[in-house]
């Protein structure tokens, strides 16, 4: 099971007019500077980046200064937000701010690992499929089908008994999700490679005797890097959403660890009576995911500026 909506960014990057890709092949260094320039001047993207970094930095610093605050019980249970606890406390007296920030870290931790795995596996498989074509492509794409067919939910519920009991269950969770989330990147890279390998410079390199691997790594992957990065950020956002959904079903990160999804699940009954147990975790989750999406969208439009032209 995947949240609806992640795949379209894949297709989005396979644009009809690949002049941008061609341009990048010829003048790669200058182009990246342009990309950076466009990104930095994109208000929405910068807002997202700043928000995300702010969340990350604040969470890191707070957790370093108060490493055990997220599990510190007290008798001050279900306290409404006050000066002592700006987001209130939960039903065993733990400070909600500490739990929320720790949850942010946990979510980001899982998501980055998932994205890293997805990018590595997906790029490898997509590159091989797109470059070699033919039988290799067929086999690999059927492998992709196999992965797509098996619902993440089934795997996670069934592996829950291994995952839930481990002390670092976030790692296992991330590995399982990551090993099932690379299919979009694979399709994307494959599509890029399929169109790129007809290019003259590829023919030329081959004529010069360059090995397949050199062609792939030196000439083709760099051209696909843009969409891959965009997709990686989307995968990060998607992984956070997936983990919080799993926590809602009780299959994600287990207490006494925290994640934002778990906090929402724990606070759902109290939405009207102790609103801070539900509203603040939900707000932070939303903020986190939206900021990542803003960054992803900013990267996408920085890499492909024609989208931003006003209709003439």
């Amino acid at each position: 099971m995947s949240e609806p909506g992640v795949s379209e960014f894949t297709a989005m990057s396979v644009s009809e007019d690949d002049s941008a890709a061609e341009g990048m092949a010829l003048e790669s260094r200058g182009q990246w500077a342009n990309v950076l320039h466009r990104f930095l001047h994109n208000g929405q993207a910068m807002t997202g980046l700043v928000t995300f970094l702010l969340l990350l930095v604040v969470s890191l610093i707070y957790t370093m200064l108060h490493p055990t605050a997220y599990s510190a019980l007290s008798l001050d249970v279900n306290a409404a937000p006050s000066k002592a606890h700006i987001f209130g406390t939960n039903s065993i007296g733990i400070d909600m701010l500490a739990q929320i920030l720790k949850g942010v870290l946990a979510d980001v931790q899982v998501a980055i690992l998932v994205a890293a795995m997805a990018v590595m596996i997906g790029t490898l498989i997509g590159a091989m499929a797109g470059y070699y074509g033919g039988k290799v492509d067929n086999l690999l794409m059927r492998f992709v089908d196999l992965i797509l067919v098996i619902p993440v939910l089934v795997v996670l519920v069934l592996l829950a008994h291994i995952v839930a009991q481990k002390a670092n269950n976030w790692l296992w969770l991330a590995i399982i999700i990551g090993s099932l989330s690379w299919t979009y990147v694979a399709r994307l890279v494959r599509a890029e490679f399929l169109s790129l390998r007809e290019r003259d410079f590829v023919e030329a390199s081959r004529a010069l005797g360059a090995s397949d691997w050199r062609i792939i790594s030196r000439h083709m992957i760099p051209n696909a890097v843009g969409p891959i990065i965009v997709n990686a950020t989307i995968t990060i956002a998607g992984a956070i959403v997936l983990e919080s959904t799993l926590s809602y079903l009780g299959l994600g990160i287990q207490p006494p660890s925290v994640s934002l999804g778990l906090l929402i699940e724990q606070g759902q009954n109290s939405a009207t009576t102790e609103y801070w147990l539900f509203v603040y975790p939900a707000a932070f989750l939303l903020l986190l995911i939206v900021s990542v999406f803003f960054v992803g969208d900013g990267l996408r439009s920085a890499l492909d500026p024609r989208q931003n032209r006003v209709r003439s």
Binding site: Q165, Q266, T273
Partner: protein, 588 residues
């Protein structure tokens, strides 16, 4: 680590709780209710078949439904007292010589809804199907799959008055039945074995399956109706019958049984439908989606929701018959020492634990001091008073006195032997995942044990795993889960008798062995009268405390909420649930 000493005023909660209780008391003085009408009870489990005595369908919500459809001999009322159902059985005679013998006299007017009289045949069939005796088979020669055989397996014979021979019928032999081959007398004689008397006989013959139907359609799967017409398979012998079952929507509609021979039910129909999770409960009552709601677990948030709902929602929180406890695996190298278990028990502050978890929803919850009987049962005797208050000094002293542990600078004890020699004494506590109260309990326990000097790791499993392989396989140190108590104590035997007896003591997962305990449990199960039964079981309980076999924590509070428009709703903590008197419910 400092604990903030600010305690939120619980007075507000207690005051409103009292208000809720007042509503309860007021309604208990039988208000006049209107005749007729309908009510909707929340059904929060999917139904799988209707034979509630079969292992596949033995759900709590199904019991709530079927007790209104199939007749029961003894009722458990909301005070947990047993009363004879004189509509079904006009009198019961008990004798214990030469063997325990029960003689039921069935009401001559009692009939099933298809006109067939309720006779000894029904009692014989229900005994055979739940006896666990392979000589009796279901339709097609398959073995019966009962949910429980306790008590029935101690019965040696059940005979009807006419014909005296009590020949059994062939499956599906309605003709035989009409020809009088099946016993169809109105007097039933039940004889127990000479060596197997059974003290809790009043719990037998509940929700009696109609024999002639059962033989025809099959006991195991014949009552797995699909709805849409085949509801007629479910004959009724009580106030209501199943008028419709919508399998896709998971709803059941009961209507008044026109063939009922005694005082009929008050409401015209009772509908079971509704939510699948607790968050929809109080909003469901407020929106009128259903009128009675019994959540799976009670939380403070739910109580506050009910309070905030105002006068339209009445609710009641009372101790249920499930009790939460800690199991100590005596196969563990350290837990096998009595002093270690006692140290843990002295180090656990049960009151604080309760206050931080269930106590928020039910502030009157007290620590439970008996393994067999609950605080609310008349037989309750507090055998665990020694552990009422946390005593860290004593816990530490106990550990030191074993001469096998040394208290180190980091605050933890280090054992001088075993797998953790030289390291912090660590024990795992395991429970079910996805249960916030349990995970909070584990965190509080971890915190308390730190003060004693024991490191606790929390390792949880999915329920199927925990009970399927982890606990029975002994792969745990301390386990937290709940047992279900009942007015019938004999169900406890297989938990506490010596684990070496694998056949009878399959639920003893703590590796506890004690000959005196075995003797007392057996005497309790065979006791001739309730007073003796209580005496033996309480003595058995005292041994469990002396040996610190398991540490009971508290009776789990259960909440019932209902729409204030209805009267006579009296929550019942036993497994029969709040529909125990549904035949008297009505609109105010």
């Amino acid at each position: 680590m400092k604990i903030s000493k600010k305690i939120r005023p619980l007075l507000a909660v207690v005051a409103t709780l009292a208000l809720g209780m007042n509503a309860l008391v007021a309604s208990a003085s039988t208000p006049k209710v209107q005749a007729g009408g309908t009510i909707t009870v929340d059904l929060n489990e999917t139904l799988a078949g209707f034979n509630v005595n079969n292992v596949n369908s033995n759900e709590f919500v199904l019991q709530e439904i079927m007790q209104l459809v199939w007749p029961t001999v003894y009722f458990v009322n909301n005070k947990l007292a047993l009363t004879l159902n004189t509509d079904l059985v006009t009198k019961v005679a008990v004798s214990s010589k030469p063997v325990e013998t029960l003689t039921y006299t069935i009401n001559p007017k009692a009939v099933w809804s298809d006109g067939t009289p309720i006779t000894a045949d029904d009692f014989i069939y229900n005994w055979q199907s739940q006896s666990g005796n392979p000589a009796f088979t279901d339709k097609g020669g398959a073995a019966f799959q009962p949910a429980g055989t306790t008590g029935y397996s101690s019965i040696v014979s059940v005979k009807g008055s006419n014909p005296a021979g009590g020949a059994s019928c062939d499956a599906g032999s309605a003709a035989d039945f009409n020809a009088g081959l099946c016993p169809n007398g109105k007097t039933v004689t039940v004889k127990f074995g000479a060596k197997t008397p059974f003290a809790d006989w009043q719990g037998l013959f509940g929700m009696i399956v109609p024999a002639h139907q059962g033989r025809l359609v099959g006991w195991n799967t014949g009552f797995n109706i699909n709805g849409g017409g085949d509801e007629s398979t479910l004959l009724s012998g009580s106030w209501y019958y199943v008028s419709s079952y919508n399998q896709s929507a998971n709803t059941v509609v009961l209507k008044k049984n026109p063939s009922y021979w005694a005082k009929p039910g008050n409401l015209d129909s009772i509908v079971f439908a509704g939510s699948t999770d607790d968050t929809s409960g109080i909003p469901g009552i407020q929106s009128g989606t259903f009128n009675v709601f019994e959540p799976v677990s009670t939380s403070l948030a739910m109580i506050q929701q009910a309070q905030a709902a105002g006068s339209s929602v009445s609710y009641n929180v009372q101790p249920g018959l499930q009790f939460e406890h800690f199991d100590f695996n005596q196969a563990n190298a350290y837990l096998k020492m009595l002093k270690v278990r006692q140290a843990i028990a002295y180090g656990t502050d049960r009151s604080e634990l309760i206050a931080l978890t269930v106590g928020q929803a039910a502030p009157t919850t007290k620590p439970l001091n008996n393994h067999i009987y609950m605080n609310t049962q008349p037989q309750y005797k507090s055998n665990g008073n020694a552990y009422n208050h946390q005593n860290i000094a004593k816990a530490k002293a106990l550990l030191k006195s074993t001469k096998k542990f040394k208290l180190e600078k980091d605050g933890y004890f280090h054992p001088t032997y075993g797998p953790e020699k030289g390291k912090d004494l660590s024990l795992n506590i395991s429970s079910t995942t996805g249960n916030p109260i349990r995970s909070q309990t584990e965190q509080v326990f971890q915190f308390q044990m730190k003060k004693v000097g024991i490191k606790i790791n929390i390792v949880n499993y999915a329920a199927g795993d925990l009970f399927g392989t982890v606990i029975p396989g002994g792969r745990y140190d301390i386990a937290e889960f709940a047992w279900v108590g009942s007015p019938f104590a004999t169900g406890n035997n297989s938990i506490y008798c010596s684990y070496t007896n694998k056949a009878d003591c399959g639920s003893n997962w703590v590796h506890f062995k004690n000959k005196t305990e075995d003797k007392l449990l057996a005497e309790g199960a065979a006791a001739a009268n309730p007073a003796d039964e209580a005496k033996f079981y309480n003595e058995a309980d005292a041994i469990l405390w002396k040996d610190m076999v398991t540490l009971p924590l508290y009776q789990k509070p259960i909440m019932t909420a209902w729409s204030s428009a209805y009267g006579n709703i009296l929550p019942n903590a036993s497994s029969v649930g709040s529909t125990w008197n549904a035949q008297t419910w009505g609109l105010k």
